[in-house]
Protein backbone atom coordinates (compact mmCIF):
# COMPACT_ATOMS: atom_id res chain seq x y z
CA UNK A 1 0.00 0.00 0.00
CA UNK A 2 1.37 3.37 -0.96
CA UNK A 3 0.46 6.14 1.37
CA UNK A 4 2.00 9.35 0.26
CA UNK A 5 5.12 10.29 -1.53
CA UNK A 6 7.51 7.52 -0.93
CA UNK A 7 10.07 10.23 -0.32
CA UNK A 8 8.84 10.65 3.25
CA UNK A 9 9.35 8.10 5.96
CA UNK A 10 6.29 5.94 6.32
CA UNK A 11 4.14 7.74 8.83
CA UNK A 12 0.56 6.76 8.26
CA UNK A 13 -0.64 8.01 11.62
CA UNK A 14 -0.79 11.54 10.36
CA UNK A 15 -3.46 10.29 8.03
CA UNK A 16 -5.56 8.94 10.82
CA UNK A 17 -7.22 12.18 11.78
CA UNK A 18 -8.27 12.85 8.26
CA UNK A 19 -9.52 9.33 7.76
CA UNK A 20 -11.40 9.55 11.00
CA UNK A 21 -13.13 12.70 9.87
CA UNK A 22 -13.99 11.20 6.53
CA UNK A 23 -15.43 8.12 8.12
CA UNK A 24 -17.44 10.04 10.64
CA UNK A 25 -18.89 12.16 7.92
CA UNK A 26 -19.73 9.12 5.87
CA UNK A 27 -21.37 7.22 8.67
CA UNK A 28 -23.04 9.88 10.72
CA UNK A 29 -25.08 11.79 8.18
CA UNK A 30 -25.55 15.40 9.12
CA UNK A 31 -23.23 15.49 12.08
CA UNK A 32 -20.02 17.28 11.46
CA UNK A 33 -18.56 17.88 14.89
CA UNK A 34 -16.72 14.69 15.55
CA UNK A 35 -15.57 15.97 18.93
CA UNK A 36 -18.94 14.93 20.25
CA UNK A 37 -18.81 11.42 18.96
CA UNK A 38 -19.24 8.86 21.66
CA UNK A 39 -17.22 7.24 22.98
CA UNK A 40 -13.98 9.18 22.67
CA UNK A 41 -11.19 6.92 21.47
CA UNK A 42 -7.44 7.21 21.86
CA UNK A 43 -5.13 5.23 19.61
CA UNK A 44 -1.68 4.05 20.63
CA UNK A 45 0.57 2.48 18.08
CA UNK A 46 3.88 0.94 17.26
CA UNK A 47 5.14 -0.83 14.16
CA UNK A 48 3.45 -4.11 14.96
CA UNK A 49 0.15 -3.24 16.51
CA UNK A 50 -2.23 -0.62 17.76
CA UNK A 51 -4.12 -0.23 21.01
CA UNK A 52 -7.41 1.62 21.08
CA UNK A 53 -8.82 2.81 24.38
CA UNK A 54 -12.28 4.26 24.89
CA UNK A 55 -14.00 5.65 27.94
CA UNK A 56 -17.32 3.88 28.37
CA UNK A 57 -18.25 4.19 32.04
CA UNK A 58 -21.39 2.33 33.00
CA UNK A 59 -21.61 0.30 29.82
CA UNK A 60 -22.14 -3.40 30.45
CA UNK A 61 -19.39 -5.37 28.65
CA UNK A 62 -22.14 -7.64 27.34
CA UNK A 63 -23.56 -4.63 25.51
CA UNK A 64 -20.36 -3.92 23.59
CA UNK A 65 -19.53 -5.38 20.23
CA UNK A 66 -16.14 -4.94 18.61
CA UNK A 67 -15.69 -5.98 15.00
CA UNK A 68 -12.72 -5.80 12.68
CA UNK A 69 -12.73 -5.97 8.91
CA UNK A 70 -9.36 -5.54 7.18
CA UNK A 71 -8.15 -2.19 8.53
CA UNK A 72 -11.41 -0.97 10.01
CA UNK A 73 -12.46 -1.31 13.63
CA UNK A 74 -16.04 -0.77 14.71
CA UNK A 75 -17.19 -0.40 18.29
CA UNK A 76 -20.91 -0.68 18.86
CA UNK A 77 -22.74 -0.57 22.10
CA UNK A 78 -25.54 0.62 24.27
CA UNK A 79 -25.42 2.69 27.37
CA UNK A 80 -28.56 1.94 29.31
CA UNK A 81 -30.36 4.64 31.23
CA UNK A 82 -31.02 4.32 34.92
CA UNK A 83 -34.48 2.95 35.42
CA UNK A 84 -36.29 5.09 37.89
CA UNK A 85 -39.12 3.69 39.94
CA UNK A 86 -42.41 5.43 40.15
CA UNK A 87 -42.23 8.54 42.26
CA UNK A 88 -38.50 8.91 41.73
CA UNK A 89 -37.32 11.94 39.85
CA UNK A 90 -34.22 13.55 38.49
CA UNK A 91 -32.73 16.69 39.95
CA UNK A 92 -29.86 16.82 37.55
CA UNK A 93 -29.09 14.85 34.44
CA UNK A 94 -25.78 15.22 32.69
CA UNK A 95 -24.90 11.66 31.69
CA UNK A 96 -26.02 10.54 28.29
CA UNK A 97 -27.35 7.17 27.23
CA UNK A 98 -28.36 5.32 24.12
CA UNK A 99 -26.79 3.40 21.26
CA UNK A 100 -23.41 4.33 19.90
CA UNK A 101 -21.19 3.31 17.01
CA UNK A 102 -17.67 4.40 16.28
CA UNK A 103 -15.62 3.36 13.31
CA UNK A 104 -11.92 3.84 13.08
CA UNK A 105 -9.64 3.03 10.21
CA UNK A 106 -6.10 1.95 10.94
CA UNK A 107 -3.23 2.35 8.53
CA UNK A 108 -2.71 -1.40 8.37
CA UNK A 109 -4.63 -4.62 7.98
CA UNK A 110 -5.42 -6.20 11.32
CA UNK A 111 -4.83 -9.84 12.21
CA UNK A 112 -8.47 -10.47 12.98
CA UNK A 113 -8.03 -13.62 15.01
CA UNK A 114 -5.56 -11.99 17.39
CA UNK A 115 -7.69 -9.01 18.34
CA UNK A 116 -8.33 -8.81 22.07
CA UNK A 117 -10.78 -6.50 23.81
CA UNK A 118 -11.42 -6.02 27.49
CA UNK A 119 -13.12 -3.55 29.78
CA UNK A 120 -11.66 -2.41 33.05
CA UNK A 121 -12.92 0.40 35.29
CA UNK A 122 -15.14 1.69 32.51
CA UNK A 123 -12.33 1.84 29.96
CA UNK A 124 -12.41 -0.36 26.89
CA UNK A 125 -9.08 -1.50 25.52
CA UNK A 126 -8.71 -3.18 22.14
CA UNK A 127 -5.40 -4.63 21.06
CA UNK A 128 -5.09 -4.85 17.28
CA UNK A 129 -2.03 -6.65 15.96
CA UNK A 130 -0.96 -5.96 12.43
CA UNK A 131 -1.55 -8.84 10.05
CA UNK A 132 1.61 -10.78 9.25
CA UNK A 133 1.14 -10.44 5.50
CA UNK A 134 0.79 -6.66 5.90
CA UNK A 135 4.09 -6.14 7.69
CA UNK A 136 7.03 -4.68 5.81
CA UNK A 137 9.36 -7.34 4.48
CA UNK A 138 13.02 -7.01 3.96
CA UNK A 139 13.95 -7.93 0.46
CA UNK A 140 17.46 -8.99 -0.12
CA UNK A 141 19.09 -7.27 -3.04
CA UNK A 142 21.32 -9.52 -5.01
CA UNK A 143 24.21 -8.61 -7.13
CA UNK A 144 23.52 -9.05 -10.77
Amino acid sequence: MIWQDLGNPWNPWQELNKLQEDLNRAFSGARTANVHDYPPINVWANEESAVCTAEIPGVDPADIEVSVVHDTVTVKGTRRPEELQEGERYHRRERGFGDFTRTLRLPFVVAQKDVAARVSKGVLQIVLPRAEEDRPKRIAVQLA
Partner: protein, 135 residues
Amino acid sequence: MADDTKTLQQADVQTGEVMERRSAANKVFKPRADIFETADAIVVVADMPGVDESSVDITLEKNILTIEGRVEPGHPEGYRLSHREYEVGNYSRAFALSDEVSREGIEATVKGGVLRLTLPKAGPARARKIPVQGE
Protein backbone atom coordinates in the same frame (compact mmCIF):
# COMPACT_ATOMS: atom_id res chain seq x y z
CA MET B 1 -40.67 18.30 49.35
CA ALA B 2 -38.09 20.98 49.09
CA ASP B 3 -37.31 22.23 45.64
CA ASP B 4 -34.39 20.81 43.74
CA THR B 5 -31.92 23.50 44.39
CA LYS B 6 -32.54 23.40 48.08
CA THR B 7 -32.21 19.66 48.39
CA LEU B 8 -28.86 19.30 46.78
CA GLN B 9 -27.08 22.25 45.41
CA GLN B 10 -24.00 22.06 43.40
CA ALA B 11 -21.40 24.08 45.11
CA ASP B 12 -20.27 26.73 42.74
CA VAL B 13 -16.73 26.28 43.83
CA GLN B 14 -15.85 25.14 40.35
CA THR B 15 -17.17 26.42 37.09
CA GLY B 16 -17.27 25.09 33.58
CA GLU B 17 -18.75 21.89 32.25
CA VAL B 18 -15.46 20.09 32.31
CA MET B 19 -13.22 21.81 34.74
CA GLU B 20 -9.59 21.71 33.93
CA ARG B 21 -7.10 22.61 36.54
CA ARG B 22 -3.45 21.85 36.64
CA SER B 23 -2.31 20.06 39.73
CA ALA B 24 1.18 18.70 39.54
CA ALA B 25 1.28 16.73 36.32
CA ASN B 26 -2.32 15.65 36.14
CA LYS B 27 -5.35 17.45 34.92
CA VAL B 28 -8.49 17.44 37.00
CA PHE B 29 -11.86 16.93 35.39
CA LYS B 30 -15.32 17.49 36.72
CA PRO B 31 -17.20 14.22 36.30
CA ARG B 32 -20.62 14.29 34.69
CA ALA B 33 -23.26 13.42 37.23
CA ASP B 34 -26.91 12.48 37.50
CA ILE B 35 -28.79 13.16 40.69
CA PHE B 36 -32.13 11.61 41.43
CA GLU B 37 -34.36 11.32 44.39
CA THR B 38 -36.01 8.16 45.64
CA ALA B 39 -38.48 7.77 48.47
CA ASP B 40 -35.81 7.65 51.11
CA ALA B 41 -32.57 8.80 49.54
CA ILE B 42 -30.80 11.14 47.17
CA VAL B 43 -28.66 9.21 44.68
CA VAL B 44 -25.66 10.73 42.91
CA VAL B 45 -24.26 8.83 39.92
CA ALA B 46 -21.01 10.11 38.44
CA ASP B 47 -19.01 8.95 35.41
CA MET B 48 -15.41 8.45 36.45
CA PRO B 49 -13.77 6.10 33.95
CA GLY B 50 -10.46 4.75 35.21
CA VAL B 51 -11.47 4.93 38.85
CA ASP B 52 -12.18 1.99 41.12
CA GLU B 53 -13.15 1.68 44.78
CA SER B 54 -9.56 2.05 45.93
CA SER B 55 -8.91 5.28 44.05
CA VAL B 56 -11.96 7.28 45.00
CA ASP B 57 -12.24 9.56 48.01
CA ILE B 58 -15.44 10.94 49.38
CA THR B 59 -15.31 13.57 52.07
CA LEU B 60 -18.03 15.40 53.87
CA GLU B 61 -17.00 18.58 55.55
CA LYS B 62 -19.74 20.64 57.06
CA ASN B 63 -22.30 20.51 54.27
CA ILE B 64 -19.90 20.15 51.35
CA LEU B 65 -19.68 16.68 49.87
CA THR B 66 -16.58 16.26 47.74
CA ILE B 67 -15.89 13.36 45.43
CA GLU B 68 -12.40 12.84 44.14
CA GLY B 69 -10.93 10.14 41.97
CA ARG B 70 -7.37 9.36 41.03
CA VAL B 71 -6.61 7.85 37.65
CA GLU B 72 -3.35 6.21 36.69
CA PRO B 73 -2.19 7.67 33.37
CA GLY B 74 -1.24 4.10 32.37
CA HIS B 75 -0.32 4.27 28.73
CA PRO B 76 0.45 0.96 27.06
CA GLU B 77 4.13 0.21 27.19
CA GLY B 78 6.03 0.24 23.93
CA TYR B 79 3.41 2.34 22.18
CA ARG B 80 3.18 5.98 21.35
CA LEU B 81 0.01 8.00 21.22
CA SER B 82 -1.07 8.58 17.67
CA HIS B 83 -4.63 9.82 17.95
CA ARG B 84 -6.26 11.48 20.92
CA GLU B 85 -9.89 12.25 21.56
CA TYR B 86 -9.86 12.32 25.31
CA GLU B 87 -7.46 13.18 28.07
CA VAL B 88 -6.82 11.19 31.18
CA GLY B 89 -6.84 12.98 34.49
CA ASN B 90 -8.16 12.94 38.01
CA TYR B 91 -11.69 13.88 38.99
CA SER B 92 -13.03 16.31 41.49
CA ARG B 93 -16.46 17.73 42.16
CA ALA B 94 -18.23 19.22 45.14
CA PHE B 95 -21.88 19.37 46.10
CA ALA B 96 -23.56 21.32 48.85
CA LEU B 97 -25.96 19.22 50.89
CA SER B 98 -29.06 20.51 52.53
CA ASP B 99 -30.15 19.49 56.01
CA GLU B 100 -32.53 17.04 54.43
CA VAL B 101 -29.70 14.63 53.82
CA SER B 102 -28.60 12.53 56.72
CA ARG B 103 -24.93 12.80 57.52
CA GLU B 104 -24.93 9.18 58.61
CA GLY B 105 -25.26 6.12 56.46
CA ILE B 106 -23.97 7.55 53.18
CA GLU B 107 -23.12 4.63 50.92
CA ALA B 108 -20.77 4.62 47.94
CA THR B 109 -20.03 2.00 45.31
CA VAL B 110 -17.92 2.07 42.16
CA LYS B 111 -18.69 -0.22 39.25
CA GLY B 112 -17.47 0.00 35.70
CA GLY B 113 -16.03 3.46 36.23
CA VAL B 114 -19.27 4.81 37.67
CA LEU B 115 -19.51 6.10 41.21
CA ARG B 116 -22.85 5.73 42.92
CA LEU B 117 -23.52 7.57 46.14
CA THR B 118 -26.64 6.97 48.17
CA LEU B 119 -27.40 9.72 50.64
CA PRO B 120 -30.23 8.76 52.95
CA LYS B 121 -32.76 11.44 53.66
CA ALA B 122 -32.97 12.56 57.24
CA GLY B 123 -36.18 11.55 58.99
CA PRO B 124 -38.80 14.21 59.40
CA ALA B 125 -37.47 16.77 61.77
CA ARG B 126 -38.66 15.71 65.11
CA ALA B 127 -40.71 18.28 66.87
CA ARG B 128 -39.23 18.73 70.24
CA LYS B 129 -41.88 18.78 72.89
CA ILE B 130 -41.29 21.21 75.60
CA PRO B 131 -43.25 20.28 78.61
CA VAL B 132 -45.02 23.09 80.28
CA GLN B 133 -45.06 22.70 83.93
CA GLY B 134 -47.97 23.67 86.01
CA GLU B 135 -47.61 25.83 88.97
